[in-house]
Symmetry: C7
Subunit: 95 residues, 7 copies
């Protein structure tokens, strides 16, 4: 299991067809893959200068769109996940 | 539905003819499209170092002009929207 | 009407002949147009880290000289205006 | 023995086969080696502007994935270790 | 009359012969003109994050040497002046 | 005698053979010389924004590994020393 | 007389032979001249965000080594001096 640090999120990227089905697709400039996925793990929050942590807005299970030009990719059990900072999440998708 | 994070806004870009009709057109240096549109969703505000959020000035329904050199674009139900930070909004248009 | 955000100003650029008449001309390095004009709208002020806004110094009607390498330009009713940050205003002209 | 300063960590990089066995592999863009390893020493924490140190999250023995484009390498007794800042650790691996 | 904003100064540049006469000449790397002159107007001071203004050190009439790689130039009644930030003043010349 | 300012350290670089004998060698990317040495003088600490100095961690006599891409070099009595900031010290070597 | 602003120092550079005689020579990467000299004037200190000035460490008469890649040079009565920030002083030389 991966426990993110700081304000990092572990994201399962949406397959192209899933993203299309949801009706929401985010295109980053010059990128082909929709930058959309499901949050599977959430860090404790960014440490502020006063020593406390900024609360996280995103929760496990959230469907998110994000900007991330070259995300770090991590494979767990042969499956690929992305690690992104919450600062790069643009919006949470709700129904 | 898209719920923006941080100080992000979801913007429906004005069509070229609409922008012209309103009599207000913003040209960014080296860009063809008028950077103008209607706010359809507003984030909770940027988190400050003291742990509180800066209040947002822009409201849903506001007509705004903005500077945004390469905005993130997101498609919802086949329709394209822009995601921009309120920091990149130059002014709100009122009558 | 344009209501600027942050510390933005809407500026009506001085015509070349007007600028010359006033006897004050500002030349930015490598630019032809005098960077001078009249303030027609003033934002609420830059938000500080403590959550308050820095008061604006410039007022509507002020004649200002400014440095602005590639100002955002906005057309209202066919007339062109500039949007600049008060941080780029160098001085206010008084008689 | 190496006692890291600031928020530095001494990391024993996972061998390629070990990383594969754990089922977790992190690929940084444009890098071949899995950026994964075991923490063997932990610094006292980054000094904040208020004069206190930010507590470290990572502990000795933790298995971590990290982003580090050109880590400093140090040889101790012929064996190679990495020195990275905790800010570059993405997640801690648990079972 | 020009009333500078922020920590700006209006400077009347010393003529080459004047600068030589005073016996003090500042050469910036790669520049021919002595970066020396007399202060003719002083801004209210830079706004600090706590909302107050930093007091200005330089006064009207001061003779100053400054570093300024490409100062903004402004013409008033056909005479040329420089606008520089007090942060770029190196020293005040006294007798 | 050299009394360092700020958080600077005067370092006597380890000779290549000494570094090898200690069994600890740090290689910076693209550098040949082991970045290791002995601290011979310690500055008073970096001045923080609140006006106090951050305490130094490193002491005279400490054996340190550091990253320093192009350290300032100073010769005292024909012998060469390095001047580096404590921020560039990675770890202290103990037995 | 030159009265430096901010944390600036007026430095009389050591002649090459003097620097050699003192037995201390600082070589900056890619520079020929020893970056060493005597302090002849000291500024009031850098203004901090809380409105106070950071005290200066260096005093008039101090012999200092400094890093300064392209120092501003000022001629007083035909004699050349350097203007550098105390932040660029590496150490004070004492006997």
């Amino acid at each position: 299991m991966l426990n993110p640090l700081h304000d990092n999120l572990i994201i399962e990227a949406a397959a192209a067809e899933q993203a299309t089905a949801s009706g929401i697709i985010l295109h980053n400039a010059g990128e082909e893959k929709p930058a959309q996925g499901t949050v599977i793990a959430v860090g404790p929050g960014k440490l502020l200068e006063n020593g406390t942590r900024a609360p996280m807005t995103v929760k496990i299970g959230d469907s998110v769109v994000f900007k991330k030009y070259s995300p770090d990719e991590v494979k767990i059990g042969g499956k690929e996940f992305l690690v992104i900072s919450e600062a790069d999440v643009l919006a949470v998708i709700t129904k």
